[in-house]
Symmetry: C4
Subunit: 205 residues, 4 copies
């Protein structure tokens, strides 16, 4: 069995505290993962509040989503985490959370949301200046995770060499990733900040 190093467990637990403090993991929503090796990730187990994680709230799965310990049930959305690690091999951490802004905007959006002219776009790769725009895919929610992942693959195929490191699920939440947990948290905060700006702009227009 692959052990989960204490530093990895601590990083996942701390991410939960941070997202919970902002209200981004309500109820038992959200899930987080970090890479342990070429074919192994640590991921949050199903049904726990992500603001109160403990080492035993975590488990190990391979990149097909199969648990090493068959007695443990991973989050239903583990397949979406695995899909990111398989498609973007440089990924070291994946965060999923729910926010008012990403929920409200994704419900109202078409197939993508465009963010333009924000300094914080620099938190995304390949955008060295604010004078740029990012097209964030918005996919329909689906309880069939394999089907949702297949739809994401098709979207990424159509987005050139470097799709943005995140997407929204309609009425559900956001997925964000980076090479390590500090990078994933920074991108999560950057995306949510820009989405809150978009929502506030629509309110005051």
């Amino acid at each position: 069995m692959t052990p989960i190093p204490a530093a990895i467990a601590e990083a996942l637990i701390a991410a939960g505290h941070r997202l919970d403090a902002r209200g981004w993991v309500p109820a038992t929503a959200g899930n987080f993962s970090m890479r342990l090796g070429p074919d192994r990730i640590a991921v949050t187990r199903s049904g726990y509040h992500k603001g109160f994680l403990k080492p035993e709230s975590l488990m190990v799965v391979d990149l097909a989503g199969q648990p090493e310990n068959p007695a443990l049930r991973p989050s239903a959305e583990t397949g979406l985490h695995c899909g990111v690690y398989r498609r973007f091999p440089g990924t070291g951490a994946v965060l999923h959370g729910h926010s008012i802004a990403n929920t409200v905007l994704s419900r109202a959006a078409g197939p993508s949301l465009t963010l333009a002219g924000y300094e914080l776009l620099k938190a995304f790769p390949g955008l060295p200046t604010h004078d740029a725009s990012a097209e964030i895919p918005v996919v329909d929610n689906d309880q069939d995770i394999a089907r949702m992942q297949a739809g994401l693959e098709a979207r990424w195929d159509g987005m050139g060499a470097s799709p943005p490191p995140g997407y929204l699920i309609r009425g559900h939440g956001s997925y964000i990733w980076a090479a390590d947990m500090p990078g994933a948290l920074a991108r999560f905060e950057a995306l949510e900040f820009m989405l809150e700006c978009e929502l506030a702009t629509r309110r005051s227009a």
Copy 2:
């Protein structure tokens, strides 16, 4: 006299800290309870700030709302707690709080609020997917608690086998319950999250 086990007192106190951190128990608003046995619940006493509960802020009543210790005064709304435990025998914890979203939306609503298409609907029983809707009853506020409870019973009678585990009182707040306190907190956060989304959607429409 039925003792209140330390774990029950701690769970009620911790619930108060958590709701207070979100601004959901302003002034001396809100009240919480947990089941102690077939005909006994622990409930918050009247007049205390729910963000600063101590073991002595709690008391024991039977399911008719009668205090075991007649020297203590339970919250005026204890009858609504008892009404939930009587009607839904699997209930282990009941939370009542006030939020901006539940107050503003309940003031503007008709006899119910419908929530549809949110992933977080899965936090409610009987809704295994997001592709569903929940009709949350909204009842008029009334200082005659017995009359308000009778109105709720009539509403529940008309809602089939499984009414949703919560309701709103107009201009007042929400009641939510579950088999245990973690479940009640998860449903409280889920309901408030969806209500905040509804309010934000109306603002930006």
Copy 3:
């Protein structure tokens, strides 16, 4: 010299922590006081951030606003605190803070704001039910504190035996009082909650 009992200092410092956590004492705004005796109050000194009070941030004045220790400068608005203690002899604590809601609504208001149909109106005296309304005076801001206080006296004279225990200063903030600090904090939270509801209602109308 009248000493400030440790319990009084602690209550004033704790009030500052609580209001600061909600963003209600930005910059060096806000000021607090508690009664020490028939003609003495402890009040915050001028120029300190109210989220970081220490015992030495407090001083003693009489009900005319004169410092016991002439080397210390009380807040410019001490005269408004004294005005409350003189007019309403049962007062034991006065809180003044700035919030987004009380600033925005007071700027847009006429001579008063009416709050009606909120359960939290019960936090104010003389309103045993939610089926009531409270008319909160809104006075123009004025750097001449004596003149502002004279205007308040005139407003109170016209409001019958029991004016509400609070008022707003236009574009500036709110004043709230009660027999003790827990009561003043509860009324502060109740008033701000209802004002936030009013602001959210206008946004979503």
Copy 4:
């Protein structure tokens, strides 16, 4: 090499905690500095989250922005900090942060934002009463920091003897300064409070 006194490092670290708690330094955004001497400032290094600063997240530059230790990379915006210290010699601390309000309002604004009739204007120098207005410059964002600083100099040249101690960069954030860190924090909170009021006013109009 100029040492960074522990008190300076602590003040910069504490400022980061405070701004982070309000959501004003998302991702790795924001940067802070304090004066060490006539031609030396301590400034945050590039790429760190400002809510988790440590003494080693800081470095020393001269007022032309040159690092004393050439192995360390200062924030890209260090030139804007230096520009403030050169132009306003009484400056002891400079804060830069991003907020929803300053981002949304600066994107929608022309060359300046006017704040009028707020009590909190008294937090700015030269405004002894609320019955005043402050014109806050809004400059276009530019990755060429020297060019942005030149534009600011031209704006200040046209604003008389005492330009306000702060400005906004469009879609990016705010810069605020004062003689010391408590003063800079107070002005930051005052500016953000008034901008939040402006945004809320537009929403509810």
